[in-house]
């Protein structure tokens, strides 16, 4: 069936309806990773979004459930140039389309994804609708305009607390799950930690009372400024001052809790090829990124130092809070999908816990 993507500026892209196709409004973003569509599809940070893949052949190696980064597929829609029906890989257990259908995710295929990216690059991230029916454009535009992302973090956080790595005997880490990717927990557990994952509505007191050795703030979807209650809890945790490491949304929430500001980026950073410069080391690492908002550097307290920046656009990629054992990063050291070049940050976090080192 013919189907279409309509953007809020009225532009229309034609393709074929695939997956569990249904008319869906969402925010349209693009990702430039050449591998890792599965990890992207299961990354809760994509909740509420329609993801456009720039690599033109998607589904080549099929699906391997052990690579899921969360319990289900997260985006509202998936938009590709070509959806491959004949996957090949030794771990492949199903085709991509089979899994899209299983998780009820609509897919628009056979689209010139490059032209969508160019549009988003010029106009900025837009809302859109994928639909089979564009006979009444007014209806479609109303649908787009009425789309709003709400309570995204709440929709992807875990239902109740969960402990992973029970048999380990390393540091006890409390992880606040705002839509956490599995590999954050896994990276800690692999390093001997016992990780307790908490839902996003957990209070600071609840966590403090279990006296964990360290606190991990996860990634997650949406506008950080919407998470008013969470920010309050994080401020308390900051004041308590336990060793803390935060990634992506966690990084943004920490900044907001300290008086910093975030702003919406024109079209965000989503891909596996973003250079991050560690200013002190004068070293650059390639990182995975997935964010549409960023910490601006404005309003941060004087003990907060921007210690990592994006080489391309010089945006804030990391903050260290002097006087507190706290550092936060915008990019994804847990990779999946993407390069593992910054996984050493988990080691640094654990070292910080063990040595009580304060930057």
């Amino acid at each position: 069936m013919r189907a279409y993507l309509v953007l809020e500026d009225g532009s229309v892209y034609e393709g074929t309806a695939r997956g569990a196709f249904k008319e869906t409004a969402c925010e349209i973003v693009f990702n430039t990773s050449m591998t890792g569509y599965l990890e992207i599809l299961t990354d809760p940070s994509y909740a509420g979004q329609g993801v456009v893949m720039t690599y033109p052949m998607i589904g080549n190696y099929g699906i391997s459930r052990e690579d899921f980064e969360s319990i289900r597929l997260q985006p509202c829609a998936f938009i590709v140039h070509e959806l491959c029906d004949t996957p090949s890989n030794f771990r492949c257990t199903a085709s991509l389309e089979e899994v899209l259908i299983e998780y009820n995710i609509p897919c628009l295929a056979d689209v010139d994804t490059r032209s969508i990216v160019k549009k988003l690059r010029e106009s900025g991230t837009m809302r859109g609708v994928i639909t089979e029916d564009i006979s009444d454009m007014e209806r479609v535009m109303t649908l787009i305009k009425s789309f709003k992302q709400e309570k995204l973090v709440e929709s992807v956080t875990i239902d109740g607390k969960r402990v992973v790595g029970k048999d380990n005997n390393g540091p006890k880490i409390a992880l606040m799950d705002f839509g956490s990717k599995r590999n954050i927990t896994n990276s800690l557990v692999e390093r001997g930690c016992i990780v307790t994952e908490y839902p996003c509505f957990t209070t600071a007191e609840e966590i403090i009372k279990t006296s964990p050795d360290g606190l991990m703030l996860s990634n997650g979807p949406g506008d950080p400024a919407d998470c008013v209650n969470i920010i309050k809890e994080i401020k308390k945790l900051y004041d308590y001052g336990m060793p803390t490491f935060a990634i992506c949304l966690g990084h943004q929430l920490m900044a907001l809790s300290q008086g910093g500001t975030t702003e919406r980026m024109k079209y965000g950073h989503r891909g596996a090829n973003h250079p991050v410069k560690f200013l002190e080391k004068d070293q650059t690492f390639i990182s995975t990124q997935n964010h549409g908002y960023m910490v601006t550097g404005k309003g941060l307290p004087s003990n907060a130092e921007v210690n990592c920046i994006n080489v391309n656009d010089k945006t804030v990629e990391g903050v260290v809070y002097h006087g507190k054992p706290i550092f936060t990063v915008q990019f994804h050291p847990e990779a999946n999908a993407g390069p593992r070049d910054t996984s050493f940050l988990f080691d640094e976090f654990i070292k910080m816990i063990k040595e009580g080192e304060i930057k």
Partner: protein, 1067 residues
């Protein structure tokens, strides 16, 4: 930070083009030199290859086209006193030379350091044992293997790990001398050969992992330790076929992110451990059913793969590598594509790239076509599309093998048993065998079990087959047509399947608005706006080209893949033409598909279209760009062949028009022109069949020259002395369908002479007359060519200039033309006129100081030769002798006959330049890797007709004081002794021991002089001897003229008195 102590850098080139080391190093070297100059360095370039762009005086400050030998380069170092050497751009040749200079203490003595890599890193990567130890240290798995120096050790180890085993010689390029041994007998042969070819007599015996996936990563690292991967590539052909002979896709298609990142991390670990500052290529074998992998090889330098990766991604690896060598960090180097981002990122592709090798089997009909660990391809093409199917089709179209569809009718006729049998052959036709097997219904699983080609690729091929079957069934609605075009089906193929014409398909496409559009290659999948005008076509996508013109727009057609007869010289010509056009204020648009070349660098022309050079694709570009004119003279036969198509599209051909191009090729029209000009030529006839050829030969009298018309490099050209020869040759020529007649000419055994001329329709300018040392009958590309002419009388030279002028005028040549003459008894005959640029143009331009291509381009734009400041007629002699020496790659092609004849066999060339003739000659030999000690052992075995001449030759050389140690086979020895030459007897190859075989095994033979008896029959003694010589690494010369020149120059020139010539400053 830029290391300001680096001020003067020597760059070592890769020398003559040989299989395994082709134009990619000219591309890399040129880019690096420009990058170094941008940073304010003075660049001293050394390369023995005159056909390169890097040896232009615009590219480097000092240019030495001198032999890449330790003594010569040491002398250049002493003279120029560079502070640094950048050895990572000249391929294996450059790296080996740098290692030798280091080991011999030359660098230390002259206070020169290596930049980009140090000697210990070179050793860690190149020395098999050190490499293994290094990998073990960082926990990177290698394949079970052992370094050995003797055949016995190889046999013992193989018995332990089990056959099959792979033999890999150390310090050779393109895997020379390697191979897979299935049993002890094969192992003994391959190991002995490998040990001999290795510079350090060392081979690695390793467990054979044929059938694993072969994956490559291109990695960059700077002095701060920042690492990135530029791209990864997956081979269609599993491990077992040299990556240079494999179909390669970028990026990988069948790796999940976990697999991809595992290998990527490994590649970064490796480059970090080696401490490379620049680019590096890591090859992996990945077990298809697990995460098990092994590091196959690391190239600590730019390579063929890095050239491919650069073109596949838009990331200029050589440029960045040069800047890193100067101390700059990846985060300090701007990404030239976006102008905004930096070199410290990883390119994101939003298309698929396919590389396809170009093999020389059309030239070497006797050669084995099987593919293995020894690379055989002379060149390659690259294609870009949004789908694998589209890119694969485009790649096949770019090969210029006349193949439009992947479905080969002759293979479809085979039974499934025969096809299954053929699937076991790993040869140049494997792809087509697989496609035919799919077409004929053989299960994909069966094909996979035999070939180990990943099911993903097989399924993509099946999609192509299914589409072709759908079309053949007559079904073609709008959706199907769009899909077929997206999959890369040519209009002509669709038309054939549907039983209509290509024009009808085009009309259908227009009706349904299915038109090609062009996308930008931008390194970033459109995330940032790109500044680069680097395009590829596809269907169903948005067009990103702005065809608006503000000035005169000229289309320049490139020359496609490097092949024998059409090499790097034509890229030199295309690039120089583009530069001249830009200088004249034109907008330039280039079309080419060779990833190894300078012309496909995105900053050469104003627009680069990376597309097949065939009618349909070029038409797409023309229809969009609407150029004011097109230049076809500089892209070899590839471009010339498109003249008519361009003309039909209404494009003005700049320079000589299509009709006159045809007049030079069409036998009858050309004869008429010669008659009108009163220029003699050897008598001849045009024929189509064997019978006609025999009649023609009889009327002319043997010997006769037989060749197809409209070809370059003398493809299929032979000298026939008998009816049997005619039958054999016509059989070979007509094996492929001939659109044009075959020419049968009287063969004159005279002096061959060649000129290139710049013409404006009225005046001509001849930079110089080149004389061939080898007599007529040996292809001009395989002859030793001397500038200026040494044996021609003034009268003959005047006649040559006069004839050139007459022909230029009669053919209304505007631009370049190349004429080949034969001089016999003071009479000048014409053999051939080509109204286009030839392979001697770069060479003659460099040694005379005349920028021939620039002048020719200006002439095409309407300027007059007389106004260009170089005069008209024959230009003054330069005061230097410059000798072009052919270089062959026979050791790469098992079974190829090495004897020279009218069909070209050389892959490259070296230059010798000096004020003295013999010195120039000796340098040319040295540059080509032929060296003869003054007391060297020579074996002579010649056919009867040459015996008298050989005796004469040796008598003279010995009278001149030569001290060679001469051995000859009985007949030749008898003749030599009778003539008073002291020659020892050695039995023929198949004779009783001690025979030639024993002598070669013993070693110490410097030269074999062998003239062939006739024909291409492989079983002859001479053929075996020549092959044996190749395999033994002994120079074997089949031309008496060349042999004489080598012996004379060796005898005369005092080796300690070699001069150096910097061609950048002499003109």
């Amino acid at each position: 930070m830029r290391d300001m102590s680096i001020k003067k850098v020597m760059v070592i080139g890769s020398g003559p083009i040989i299989i395994g080391q082709a134009a990619e190093f000219d591309y890399a070297g040129t880019q690096a030199c420009r990058s170094l100059k941008e940073e304010g360095c003075e660049v001293v370039l050394v390369n023995s290859n005159p056909a390169t762009i890097m040896t232009d005086k615009d590219i480097a400050d000092k240019v030495y086209i001198e032999p890449l030998t330790v003594p010569t380069v040491s002398k250049i170092i002493e003279k120029e006193k560079p502070d640094s050497i950048l050895p990572t751009l000249g391929g294996q040749t450059g790296l080996n030379l740098a290692m030798e200079l280091e080991e011999l203490g030359v660098l230390k003595a002259n206070n020169v350091r290596l930049i980009g890599i140090n000697a210990s890193a070179i050793k860690k990567a190149e020395d098999r044992q050190e490499f293994k130890d290094t990998m073990e240290k960082i926990g990177e798995p290698c394949i079970e293997s052992l370094v050995v120096h003797t055949v016995e050790d190889a046999v013992d180890f193989s018995a332990k790990i089990g056959y099959p085993v792979i033999v890999r010689p150390a310090y050779t390029l393109g895997g020379t001398g390697g191979g897979i041994a299935d049993d002890e007998e094969q192992l003994r042969e391959i190991a002995a050969n490998g040990i001999r070819l290795s510079r350090v007599n060392e081979v690695l015996i390793e467990k054979c992992i044929a059938g694993w996936k072969e994956i490559e990563y291109e990695v960059m690292r700077d002095s701060k330790g920042n690492c990135i991967t530029v791209c990864n590539m997956e081979n269609f052909d599993p491990v077992g076929v040299h990556t240079g002979d494999s179909i390669v896709v970028a990026p990988s298609q069948t790796l999940m992110d976990k697999d991809y990142q595992m290998l990527r991390s490994s590649a970064l670990n490796i480059i970090s451990e080696l401490g490379i500052q620049g680019g590096c290529n890591v090859q992996f074998a990945l077990e298809p059913n697990s995460f098990r992998y092994a590091v196959i090889e690391v190239n600590p330098r730019v390579s063929r793969s890095s050239a491919l990766a650069s073109k596949a991604t838009g990331y200029p690896i050589a440029r960045v590598a040069a800047k890193i060598a100067l101390g700059l960090g990846l985060d300090e180097i701007k990404n030239a594509v976006t102008g905004k981002t930096f070199a410290s990122f990883e390119p994101a592709l939003d298309y698929c790239v396919v590389k396809f090798p170009k093999w020389p089997f059309d030239k070497f009909v006797t050669a084995k076509r099987t593919l293995g660990t020894q690379m055989k391809a002379t060149g390659e093409v690259m294609a870009i599309a949004r789908s694998f199917e589209g890119a694969l089709h485009k790649a096949v179209h770019s090969l210029e093998e006349g193949r439009q569809s992947l479905i080969e009718p002759k293979l479809l006729k085979l039974s499934n048993e025969e096809l299954t049998e053929r699937l076991h052959n790993i040869d140049n036709e494997r792809l087509y065998t697989i496609v035919a097997s799919i077409y004929n219904g053989i299960e994909l699983e069966t094909i996979h079990d035999i070939t180990k080609v990943d099911m993903w690729f097989l399924n993509r091929l099946k999609a192509i087959v299914d589409m072709e079957k759908l079309l053949q069934s007559g079904n073609c609605d709008k959706e199907t047509l769009l899909k077929a075009k997206k999959m890369g089906f040519m209009d002509a193929v669709i038309a054939k399947d549907l039983g209509t014409t290509a024009t009808a398909i085009k009309n259908m496409r227009n009706m349904w608005n299915i038109n090609p559009a062009f996308s930008v290659v931008d390194t970033c999948a459109a995330e940032f706006a790109a500044q680069t005008p680097y395009y590829y076509s596809d269907y169903g996508v948005e067009n990103e080209v702005n065809p608006e013109k503000t000035k005169k727009k000229v289309l320049v057609l490139g020359s496609g893949p490097i092949r024998i007869g059409q090499g790097i010289e034509f890229d030199y010509c295309s690039v120089h033409s583009v530069w001249a056009l830009k200088k004249a204020g034109c907008e330039t648009v280039i079309v080419n598909n060779n990833p190894e070349t300078v012309s496909t660098d995105f900053d050469v022309a104003d627009k680069l279209y990376f597309e097949p050079l065939t009618q349909e694709y070029v038409a797409n570009i023309v229809e969009l760009e609407k150029p004011d004119g097109a230049i076809v003279q500089f892209g070899g036969q590839t471009a010339i062949k498109l003249t008519q198509a361009l003309h039909d599209l209404g494009v003005t051909i700049l320079g000589t028009d299509a009709d006159h191009v045809d007049a030079a090729e069409d036998r009858e029209r050309f004869d008429e022109i010669l008659e009108n000009c009163a220029i003699p030529r050897p008598k001849g006839h045009t024929v189509f069949t064997e019978e006609e050829a025999l009649i023609a030969a009889h009327s002319l009298g043997y010997p006769v020259l037989v060749r197809p018309s409209y070809v370059l490099g003398g493809q299929g050209m032979q000298i026939a002395v008998s009816d049997d020869d005619i039958r054999e040759f016509m059989g070979i020529i007509t094996r492929t369908v001939q659109e044009h007649p075959v020419l049968v000419d009287k063969y004159l055994m005279g002096q061959e002479v060649e000129v290139d001329a710049i013409c404006d329709g009225t005046d001509i300018l001849i930079p110089g007359i080149m004389e061939h040392i080898d007599r007529a009958g040996i292809h001009s590309g395989d002859s030793i060519s001397v500038y200026p002419a040494i044996t021609l009388s003034q009268k003959v030279q005047d006649t040559i200039v006069d004839y050139t002028r007459r022909l230029a005028s009669a053919l209304e040549v505007v631009g370049m033309m190349n004429i080949q003459f034969i001089v016999m008894n003071e009479t000048v005959y014409i053999i051939e006129v080509n109204p286009r640029s030839s392979r001697t143009v770069p060479y003659i331009s460099k040694v005379t100081g005349i920028p021939a291509i620039a002048l020719a381009t200006r002439a095409m734009l309407g300027e007059k030769v007389r106004d260009m400041g170089y005069g008209t007629g024959l230009y003054k002699k330069s005061g230097y002798y410059a000798i072009k020496m052919p270089v062959f790659s026979f050791e790469k092609i098992m079974g190829a006959d090495t004897s020279l004849g009218p069909e070209m066999k050389s892959t490259g060339e070296a230059l010798g330049i000096a004020p003295d003739y013999n010195e120039a000659l000796l340098k040319a030999f040295e540059g080509a890797g032929v060296s003869l000690p003054k007391d060297g052992k020579i074996i002579v075995t010649v056919c009867d007709k040459d015996k008298a001449e050989v005796c004469q030759m040796f008598k003279k050389i010995i009278a001149d004081g030569a001290k060679f140690d001469i051995y000859a086979t009985p007949g030749t020895q008898k003749a030599l002794v009778e003539a008073g030459v002291d020659a020892k007897c050695v039995n023929r190859l198949t004779g009783e021991s001690p025979n030639i075989m024993d002598m070669l095994h013993e070693g110490g033979v410097s030269l074999i002089i062998n003239t062939p008896t006739h024909g291409r029959i492989e079983s002859r003694d001479g053929f075996k001897l020549r092959r044996l010589a190749v395999e033994a690494g002994t120079s074997c010369i089949t031309s008496l003229d060349s042999a004489k020149s080598l012996m004379e120059s060796t005898n005369i020139v005092k080796s300690d008195k070699i001069s150096l010539t910097d061609i950048a400053t002499i003109f």
